[in-house]
Amino acid sequence: MKAPRVGIIGIGQSQFKARRSDANYPELVREAVTLAMGDSGRSLDEIEAVVYSLAPDALLGIGNAERLGVDAVGARNKRFMRINTGGSTGISSLAAAHSHIAAGACELVLVAGADKVGECGDSQTILNKIWDPTYERSLPLGTITMLAMSAIRYMHKYGMTQEDMARIVVKNRAHAALNPNAHLRAPTSIDEVMHSRMIAWPIKLFDACPQSSGGCAMVLASEDYIRRNGLEAVWITGVGHSSESYYIGDRMGIGYSADHADAQALGEACSRAYKMAGVTDPVRQIDTAELYSPFSNTEFHAIEAAGLAPLGQSPRMLREEGCFQIGGRNPVNPSGGVLCANAIAVTAMVRVAEAALQVWGRAGAHQVKGAQRAIASGNGGDHQFFGAMVVEA
């Protein structure tokens, strides 16, 4: 039985900044909700269910902080649940909302959340606590070091250089300069990236995402509801999730089924989403991609996992063929991506929001001309959980 199409009828996102001292956490959520509801033209009363997007509580400093968000999302006496899959939370929340509608339980669902990463003191301290206390908590693991190690393996396997990584930063900052919602919008150069301070070899300051504060919300509706009310919409036609082993050390050595250099489970998630959407040739059929990548090096294996380049080839394709830029073949992260704005609880939702704006023709200065079909992805855990969505006009 084929699942019904689920439509996106409203999108709202903050202008992401380091700190939002003017708004407390529920107020930030409300801001995104107001934008999304306004965009949809529907009233909050009509919403039948809310899926709340919130990654680790500790980053906000409030346990089960979604409880405080109930009024911000107008969910009193309504269906309400919260999703947490780490960095992929935003896309997982949309997938959960998609199930609400595809199951025929609801016709109109709101997905919303916000983050104030810039306020938590030191996100890497908390992100060190995601590691298993049995074996790995004593090591200074964090998301930066974990993905620096992925860069090392990718370099070893495919010959990627730090200049290749810098080229991704230059590309995404140029895109972000055209996106008023992005946090880091200043264009940069390979030279500037190469001279930025080393954090964890080979990742330098400019290779890393910022800690952003802000919210995002989206309104999803059934095809029936959209038709009855004569609404404009874009469509989620493919959804897929998959995961890798939690143990990074198992993604290397001998006899591994996935290499920490690559993003195999992301590839599985994209394949599942493509299959559902009937996409058989991503290079030709995907007009643009918003791929979750918090560090420059990870964008390469994400591009390959999305089927937009053969394994290990994307650095060369960016360098020699100008692929993956707006104006080039298969533009990736026309919004600037996670490298330019990262409010963890919602970042993966923003990927879908941006993909939706693209196929809707509403992406403004960072519009990819003629985009009709896009893929969005989210990553969570220690490069462990992956979600993918295909969005079409």
């Binding site: 964890a200 082993s245 050390g249 050595g253």
Partner: protein, 151 residues
């Protein structure tokens, strides 16, 4: 317009049960300076650090296998930035495939000069042979051992 803030600290302590497999592993390190892995019967992989079951097959592991002390670097990083509650930089750590193991275990790399990042990175390249060193005073923790470049 006066904008206020409130400071909150989280102070929670946990006693995490390690279970028999991890407990035996740490006891061997503490008492015998020996690292062990456990074999997943379905894939044949010797998992290091050991687990009672394989998360890929969900089958119970069997057979303790002594591994190391030689090994090779599977990946590394060198940290130059200070983070709260983490060690003072610079320090290098990563994952090592010990002899006899099929998966890599995390640990610090010590005994090399880290100040020239590119030079240090070249010395820690993937595939570099290393040797496991054990602390004189061990408590049964991953910090009881570390890796140094093989002489």
């Amino acid at each position: 317009m006066e904008l206020m803030t409130r400071t909150e600290k989280w102070n929670i302590t946990y006693q995490h049960a390690l279970g028999e497999t991890a407990s035996w592993f740490f006891a061997q390190i503490r008492d015998h300076q020996q690292i062990y892995g456990r074999r997943d019967p379905k894939s044949g992989r010797v998992l290091v650090p050991p687990r009672a079951f394989s998360d890929e097959t969900l089958e119970a592991t069997r057979e303790w296998v002594a591994v190391g002390p030689e090994g090779s670097i599977e990946c590394f990083t060198i940290v130059y930035e200070a983070f709260n509650n983490l060690p003072d930089p610079p320090y290098a750590f990563g994952y090592v495939l010990l002899k006899g193991a099929d998966t890599a275990i995390g640990g610090f790399f010590r005994g090399l000069d880290l100040h020239d990042a590119a030079a240090a990175a070249a010395r820690l390249a993937v595939g570099t042979p290393v040797i496991t060193r054990f602390a004189e005073h061990r408590t049964g923790d991953v910090l009881d051992f570390w890796f140094e470049l093989a002489p």
